[in-house]
Amino acid sequence: MLILECPYCGVKACETELSPGYEAHLKRFGPGSTDAEFEDYMFARKNPKGVHFERWRHTYGCGKWFLAARDTNTLEVFGTYPAQSSAPPEDLQAKIKAKRPDWKGYK
């Protein structure tokens, strides 16, 4: 059972209380973007086997979206942080790097 701590209300929520929202930090390009950029935004996904950053919603709690760092190969959760972040927080990245020395870092 996956348990994520909601960064807003502090509740340690099990996955029945949450809705998954797939990859985080997708960048939407403006009206002047190329077709390739828009295709990337819409469809191309990192889908890593290992460290992944993704969106979750505390649906049956405070109802807010937040972001989580998780290992897709072991289901280990590294931490959660607010959805207003444009990149994973430095301290969380350091924590992941300590646990996964082979991790190439957030790109």
């Binding site: 059972m1 990859e23 295709e39 469809f43 289901l75």
Partner: protein, 415 residues
């Protein structure tokens, strides 16, 4: 390859069954092949088989990280049907279904194809309209299906409760020529036929990199060293994203877990496959008597081949109203497979940015039924370098063009 037949059994019976040869060889890899297929699951082995049978290319290696047929080919609910809405899907799944009909004779290996009939229940008015539309589309596509009444549903599957208060059965889309097959036998049969054509099936050999120069693939790095090839076919389902990364591009694919489970064995009680898409569950009875039950996918990226427990609970809870008898059944085993989901829930059989590298992936939750058709289309693509009529619509650039083959809407459910 010694043919399997009633005479072979009689002969071996006199010989205490000591004379059976191994179904396939396990050779060490050669330095260079005309074609390498990564992934010895059903789709990969079928691709290799039709490369040899239809196109005469037999200097082929099939490289497998684990053991052959040990991925999703061994982890599905063995349902075979072709009642899809969109023309490209109906064409390739119907090709696959028709190849299943003669597969045992073709491979000289009993794949136990059982055309027992597949019934997709309509439990809302929306579904009634949707399946009537699919039945009309199927008529135009040459796929034999019909929309049947609740009374006929009850006649075909008496254990169904058609008067449920929440999910009454309002009709069903019935494909009499759909059914089930023996999933392992499909992989084993293809492997035996490939091996007999002189192809090398290399198990316990993980691909760790794709070596390319100037946009042309030279071969693959593996745990057994570098293996060169003229053409590379990647048919690895859940791990397609990893292989694409090694090859230097991204795919519109997310890997998620899909679970299935079986009950304790009971006496024969249903001789059709029933899918209840509104409640997200489907069920059939295996030859051993187990009720084979599948549900929906988990909603997050996952490579562990384990799913979330609550999804099983949801599937069973929803199915209990439609199949009251399962409320007292004990569930024996549960398993998960890693499925590769595309944006439009349709597969990718495609050329790639690398000239001699081809991908067959994105079958998501509907791969087993497609194995022979998928292999047929992929073999044609690899042999000719251009897709044939079956594969053309499934190219990976359809997402850029917006030419989706939108089966997620057509089925209203993971399929």
């Amino acid at each position: 390859m010694k043919r399997y037949s009633v005479f072979a059994i009689a002969k071996e019976a006199l010989n205490y069954h000591m004379g059976w040869e191994k179904a396939w060889a396990s050779p060490e890899p050669k330095k260079q092949y005309d074609a390498i297929i990564v992934g010895a699951g059903g789709h990969g082995l079928a691709t290799a088989y039709y490369l040899g049978k239809n196109h005469g290319i037999t200097n082929v290696a099939i490289i497998e990280k684990g053991w052959l047929g040990g991925g999703n080919t061994g982890r599905n609910t063995t349902i075979i049907r072709s009642n899809y809405l969109q023309d490209p899907s109906a064409a390739i799944y119907e090709k696959a279904r028709s190849l299943y009909e003669t597969m045992s004779q073709d491979l000289n290996y009993n794949v136990m194809f059982s055309p027992r009939g597949v019934m997709m229940l309509a439990q809302t008015h929306h579904e009634v309209r949707g399946y009537m539309r699919t039945a009309h589309a199927n008529a135009l596509q040459g796929v034999t299906t019909e929309f049947i009444s609740p009374a006929r549903v009850k006649e075909l599957c008496p254990i169904l409760n058609i008067d449920g208060p929440r999910y009454p059965v309002l009709g069903a889309l019935w494909q009499a020529r759909g059914g089930t097959g023996r999933h392992d036998a499909v992989a084993w049969g293809y492997a035996r036929a490939c091996s007999a054509m002189g192809m090398d099936i290399i198990q316990q050999c993980e691909v760790t990199g794709v070596r390319s120069e100037g946009g042309v693939v030279k071969g693959v790095e593996t745990t057994k060293g570098f293996i060169g090839c003229t053409k590379l076919g990647v048919v690895v389902a859940g791990h397609s994203g990893q292989l694409a990364e090694m090859a230097g591009f991204r795919l519109p694919i997310e890997a998620v877990a899909l679970q299935a489970l079986v009950s304790e064995p009971v006496k024969p009680c249903m001789d059709v496959v029933v899918m209840a898409n509104t409640v997200h569950g489907y069920m059939s009875q295996s030859d051993k008597g187990e009720m084979v039950i599948g549900g929906g996918t988990d909603g997050f990226n996952n490579y562990t081949q384990r799913g979330s427990f609550h999804h099983i609970e949801e599937t069973l809870r929803a199915l209990v109203e439609t199949f009251p008898m399962i409320s007292r059944l004990k569930m024996l085993r549960q398993w998960g497979g890693i499925v590769d989901m595309t944006g439009d829930r349709s597969p990718i059989i495609s050329k790639t940015p690398l000239g001699n590298c081809f991908f067959n992936c994105g079958w998501g939750t509907g791969g087993f039924k497609a194995i022979p058709g998928s292999g047929w289309a992929m073999a044609e693509l690899m042999a000719k370098g251009e897709p044939g009529a079956l594969a053309e619509a499934f190219n990976m650039w359809r997402f850029k063009e917006g030419q989706f083959i939108d089966e997620s809407v057509a089925a209203g459910v993971a399929h």
